[in-house]
Amino acid sequence: MRNVILDCDPGHDDAVSIIIAASKKSDLNILGITTVAGNVEVEKNTQNALKVSELLKLEVPVVQGAERPLVKQSEIAPEIHGDTGMDGPELPEPTMRVKEGHAVDFIIDQVKRSKEKVTLVPTGPLTNIAMALIKAPEIKENIDEIVLMGGGTFGNWTPAAEFNIYVDAEAAKVVFESGIPIAMFGLDVTHQVIATPDIVERVGKIDNEIAQFVKELLIFFGQAYKDHFGFNGGPIHDACTTMYLMKPELFEMQHLNVSIETKGEFSYGMTAVDKLNVTGLQANTHFAWSVDQDEFWNVFEAVLESYGEV
């Protein structure tokens, strides 16, 4: 089993990612869920993480993290995720409580204590991860990989930058320059997993509580993506990370160098992907170009069905 910490800002697609990770189909040992300011304010993201954990009966620590980026002011995306950060499905107020302490200390502590190496799975801005690496650089040795959603060769929040990296580009720079192996799922691949009305219908036919929750998520998310980006459904960006941990063979990857632009007037927060190897810089990232879409949705369906099995 692979030890993972899910560092996230749920978030419709973060929730889907957690659902994949927590399913019996995956072989992941979730050490905890840490939250970060991103899609909405960190308190709301934490509340959503607790709600999803409770729904999944996932008894792992949920720890709140950074409420703002390292250098810049906060920037949030309520127009995509709604005021609560996870608008759409109605979930009861959680009885589970957030674990005391700060996500950064939790990450450091868990990585240090783990006998096996830990995989970090950030699906929001990289603030917590960067802070942990700055505060306790020695943890690098016990992190086997950072599997993240962010960036790409084009943008969504600006023409050049994807939201997660844009929100805290300085943190991203720390992470990409850390020397830890990175598997990166940017817009190039995440825009290939759009939950179109056909997909939502398939999910809706699965008769269990979790699948029905996912259906509600996808309906809200799909409408937001239609309204704001002109898409025929919501791309479940973050789910690529946990799907990759479960089925890496679905993805076409290239080992290359990615650097983070923190100065550009028009390209601030862009991940510069050296696909032609013109810089001669050492490859630091396994970059996902594409995914077997049919198989992705088949596996996704099987994951959701598994929640109905006793």
Binding site: F229, F266, K275
Partner: protein, 311 residues
């Protein structure tokens, strides 16, 4: 049919040389008014000399003016290794007695454009750094109304000089910004399309084996590319600059989309990047750039080879 009025701005360069050859072979549809040179692939002295040698070699009787020796605000960096000892690979063209037009090159360009008959406009084809074009638009804004469009070889959604910047735009980002911000209609023949174009080894060999001196010379230049490390495992040699000319003579074989473009001039890693807004929701306003994304390769090859054959 009226011919397209053309001004070529270049830094020859092997691919520039073939672009000039394609112009020389297209005079049934193109009226080439002149060539300005700009430092880019090589020093201004060398690219200007090459422009003179090429026009003479091709019997293309047009004025050549020697333009800017370096970018607007920075020191110049050249790409000597890509274009060989003469800048045309190692190909040596016959000597020429042709000389550049005297006087200020930007004034010469302005006069040529303004002297077009009423109702006619100029298509500018810059295939090097945009220094001359930026100066022309800045110093003589009256030319705006006499410019049909600017067909640029440069930029794209990714880079070859850096991960995000293409060589020509990287060579003078500030000039690039001035041109892209001009709001004139621009066609960007960037790497997205030029990397899908070119000739294959067999086609280049046929040129090289030709007993006609012009075809042989261009085959020789393209062999220089094929022998370089970048192409050692490739069956397609890209001839970036000629794509701009073929676009003008045969736009029907290309596909593209209207986008807005900002050129990043900051000192970060994306300096010289043409930032294209590809989002569905990008504002309609400001989409003055046709970003070429694809072409029909077999038709492109046939058109180019036919042109070269007719020289």
């Amino acid at each position: 049919m009226t011919k397209t009025n053309l001004w070529i701005d270049c830094d020859p360069g092997i691919d520039d040389a073939i672009a000039i050859a394609a112009c020389a072979a297209s005079q049934d549809v193109l009226n080439v008014h002149g060539i300005s040179t700009v430092a880019g692939n090589q020093t201004i002295e060398r690219v200007t000399n090459n422009a003179l040698l090429l026009t003479d070699f091709l019997n293309l009787d047009v004025p050549v003016v020697s333009g800017q020796a370096g970018p607007l605000t920075r020191e110049k960096v050249d790409a000597g290794h890509v274009h060989g000892t003469t800048g045309l690979g190692d190909t040596v063209l016959p000597k020429t007695s042709k000389t550049v037009e005297p006087g200020n090159p930007i004034v010469f360009m302005r006069d040529t454009i303004m002297n077009l008959p009423e109702g006619e406009k100029m298509t500018l084809v810059p295939v090097g750094p945009l220094t001359n074009i930026a100066l022309l638009l800045k110093v003589f804004p009256e030319v705006n109304n006499k410019i049909e469009k600017i067909v640029i070889m440069g930029g794209g959604t990714y880079g070859n000089r850096t991960p995000t910047a293409e060589f020509n735009i990287w060579g003078d980002p500030e000039a690039g910004k001035m041109v892209f911000d001009s709001n004139l209609p621009i066609v960007m023949c960037g790497l997205d399309v030029t990397h899908k174009s070119g000739l294959n080894r067999e086609q280049v060999k046929e040129l090289y084996d030709s007993d006609k001196k012009i075809q042989h010379a261009f085959g020789d230049m393209l062999n220089f590319y094929f022998d370089s490390p970048a192409y050692i495992n490739s069956d397609l040699v890209h001839i970036h600059d000629v794509v701009a000319i073929i676009y003008i003579t045969n736009p029907e074989i290309f596909t593209g989309q209207q986008v807005s473009v900002d050129v990043d001039c900051t000192d970060g890693i994306n300096r010289g990047m043409t930032v294209c807004d590809l989002r569905h929701t990008a504002p309609e306003e400001g989409r003055n750039v046709t970003l070429l994304t694809d072409l029909e390769l077999d038709k492109f090859q046939k058109i180019l080879l036919d042109k070269l054959e007719n020289l």
